[in-house]
Amino acid sequence: MKKIVFAMLLAFVVSAVAYSQEVPQVQLKNLKGKVVNSQEIIENDGKPVMVCFFATWCKPCIKELTAFSEAYEDWADETGVKIIAVSIDDARSTNSVGPFVNARGWDFDVYLDANGDFKRAMNVNNVPHSFLLDGKGNVAWQHTSYLEGDEAETFEMIKKVAAGESLKDEKKEKEEE
């Protein structure tokens, strides 16, 4: 019995992977204390959006966002991409996020997810974790952790999504080969 359940569960999991993830509707706060809806903040006129989960205490997150920040202008010029940084800092440091980000000169839209509601809704295990959304708000690609130079792959993906190429089809084609 247990085996059957697990087999079914596994089959379910495997086939579920083929499904696209959407951004659920969750309440967040912006740096001015305004309650915003997760589906509103990902509006970008049909162009791609990167949603990056981070925390002020997370060193790899800072490295990743610093790398993105340095390239942001070029990326935006070329693809129209918008980068959103979502802080999962809890009440200990929620109120420090604004000055922290501002001092670093990051030009991203920054939102606070103090109790991890959006993090949970997006199934994030650990930060940093970034999602690349296509123009329709579907998750086209995602990435966890930050290794030096990862921004190159990220930009490749952004360019593909901006050009309307489906990343999934490519995967399938590879599998079929």
């Binding site: 359940v5 079914m8 959407e22 509707q25 001015k32 809890d90 995602q142 966890t144 130079g149």
Partner: protein
């Protein structure tokens, strides 16, 4: 349970079949989830106090599955502990086993959100209520019940909830009822939408019901907690403050005294591009609230008292972590961020970021209620104090400077220096131990060999005459696309006991692809503590292999 699982899987499969059949509607049906599994194989190592476990291998795992369809969503979580990893809350085996600890269904539209089942919630800064999960500490005090959130008009939000908290695989004895409301005037009043001046108020009320169970004392069945908060902003300046009050709530935390509790936070910030300043202060007096008055450690916490100190992540800086003291503390913090601009003398080609922070925490001044009753005597009012009556005993102090600089396309460095005072007895719950004064230095350098290959080196050193003496840590990490390899040694070279000058050597590697990550390490872990929100987890010494797999799908 088996039947439940079977039904659940059948249900999920049916939905999926339906979704596949209706392939064009793929956008409507969404299935997602995540998974994480941490396994450790334990070897004995008497030198560091690491024990081998009877099971040899222990593991913590969880998986979440979520389905959404338009405005509806539902989810379920599986957790398995075969058996629980050492150091995680287990209360004598209560946590071991496999099951479905949480499930929920939700409806959300632009104004209304309704959740039934398990949910997490935070009112304000969490002083009156915070239900949350902190996997690294093994904390999950989700509430099982119902919650409604409603936006009356833009800027005016209310929420209400009722339920019981999760207690391992069971539920708390106590019932929680809570409401929270917030008004942001700049959103509510259209003419103020773009105003430089911002103003908002909020308030929350939480009531806990737990039947009185004490043969000696007359305890309150219902405990009420309330809080008010305010936020004021002008241009680049922000001020946030919250005050919470709790009626008498004799509990294991306060040694069953009848004194009411209170907490007060003020946080002021100023920032502009390239500059950030934060000043905060905090006052806490007898403010622990749990959904079971007899609960201890990390079990069933309702109030959340955020630490005012910085959350450090370098190993030796995090060696002596601060934990909020719910029974009484006063603290102050200052933080300063500055970025020297690109092209200036100190900024160089890429800019230099400097961070300064200082924090200091004291006890609060308590006086006896009369000459014959010692402070904190069970069954009495406990003690007297007044708001911001700061005591003489220093609990914690840190001064920290950190400078991050990118030198060129190839080189990046981060250096930090910290001076620390740590009241060991209060923060670790011991007696007669020397308080720790330490100086800690960290140098981290990253060299990019090519665009995608990099080498990171880290040296950390801690100098102290107390506790276990001096430590030095060296780490090397090599990263390439999708892979990382790391090796480090943390050496307690200055231990006054020469036979205890141990090397904590670790080696590991990992693979990352998309939302998936797998990591294998082998080595020794020193005994220590990890703290979040006044809750600490004692991490026992261990020696062995650790495997961690996580995936988001």
């Amino acid at each position: 349970m088996k039947r439940f699982l079977f039904l659940l899987v059948a249900f999920l499969s049916a939905i999926q079949l339906f979704a596949q059949k209706d392939g064009k509607n793929e956008n409507k049906f969404n299935v997602s989830g995540n998974f994480q599994s941490d396994l450790q194989y334990y070897f004995e190592d008497q030198k560091i106090g690491a024990v081998a476990v009877d099971e040899r291998l222990l593991s913590n795992s969880y998986a979440n599955f979520m389905i959404s369809y338009g405005k509806f969503s539902a989810g379920v979580r599986f957790e398995g502990y075969y058996n629980t990893l050492l150091g995680f809350p287990n209360s004598g085996g209560k946590n071991d086993g496999f099951g479905v600890p949480s499930y929920w269904a939700n409806f959300t539209n632009d104004k209304l959100e309704v959740t039934v089942g398990h949910f997490y919630e935070q009112f304000g800064n969490g002083l009156t209520l915070r239900s949350y999960e902190e996997k690294s500490l093994g904390i999950d005090n989700a509430i099982l019940g119902a919650r409604v959130k409603y936006t009356i008009v833009p800027g005016v939000n209310i929420k209400g909830l009722v339920g019981k908290q999760r207690y391992y695989w069971e539920l708390s004895d106590g019932i929680l009822r809570g409401v929270d409301g917030e008004i942001q005037f700049n959103e509510m009043i259209k003419s103020l939408n773009e105003s430089q001046f911002r103003f908002g108020i909020g308030g929350s009320f939480v009531s806990k019901y737990q039947k009185e169970d004490n043969p000696i004392y007359n305890l309150p069945n219902n405990v009420a907690t309330g809080a008010g908060r305010i936020n004021i902003g002008y241009s680049d300046f922000n001020l946030i403050s919250e005050y919470a009050y709790k009626i008498n709530d004799p509990s294991a935390d306060n040694n069953y005294i009848y004194r009411p509790g209170q907490a007060f936070l003020i946080n002021a910030t100023y920032s502009q591009k390239g500059l950030g300043v934060i000043l905060s202060t905090k006052w806490v007096d007898n403010m622990s609230l749990r959904s079971d008055r007899n609960a201890t450690l990390s079990d069933l916490t309702v109030s959340y008292l955020p630490e005012i100190t910085r959350n450090y992540t370098y190993v030796l800086q995090a060696f002596y972590p601060y934990a909020s003291q719910p029974m009484g503390e006063w603290g102050v913090k200052g933080e300063f961020f500055y970025k020297f601009k690109k092209g200036t003398k100190l900024g160089g080609k890429y800019g230099t970021t400097i961070t300064l922070n200082y924090s200091r925490v004291h006890n609060i001044k308590k006086t006896a209620i009369n000459d014959s009753t010692p402070i904190g005597t069970t069954g009495t009012y406990g003690y007297n104090t007044s708001l911001f009556a700061i005591g003489k005993e220093l609990y914690y102090q840190d001064i920290n400077v950190e400078i991050s600089k990118k030198w060129s396309k190839k080189w990046y460095t981060n250096i930090a220096y910290m001076n620390l005072y740590y009241n060991y007895n209060v923060l670790m719950g011991t007696a007669g131990h020397d308080n720790v004064k330490a100086n800690i230095a960290v140098v981290e350098a990253t060299y990019k060999i090519t665009d995608k290959y990099a080498l990171k080196g880290e040296v950390q050193a801690m100098f102290t005459k107390q506790d276990k003496g001096n430590w030095i840590l060296g780490q090397l990490e090599f990263t390439m696309p999708n892979w990382f390899f790391t090796v480090f040694d943390n050496w307690n070279y200055g231990n006054p006991d020469k036979s205890a000058r141990v090397h904590y050597f670790n080696v590991g590697f990992g693979y990352v692809k998309g939302g998936n990550r797998i990591q294998l390490t082998y080595g020794k872990q020193r005994e220590g503590v990890m703290c979040v929100g006044g809750v600490c987890r004692h991490v026992p010494a261990s020696n062995g292999f650790a495997l961690s797999i996580s995936s988001t799908f």
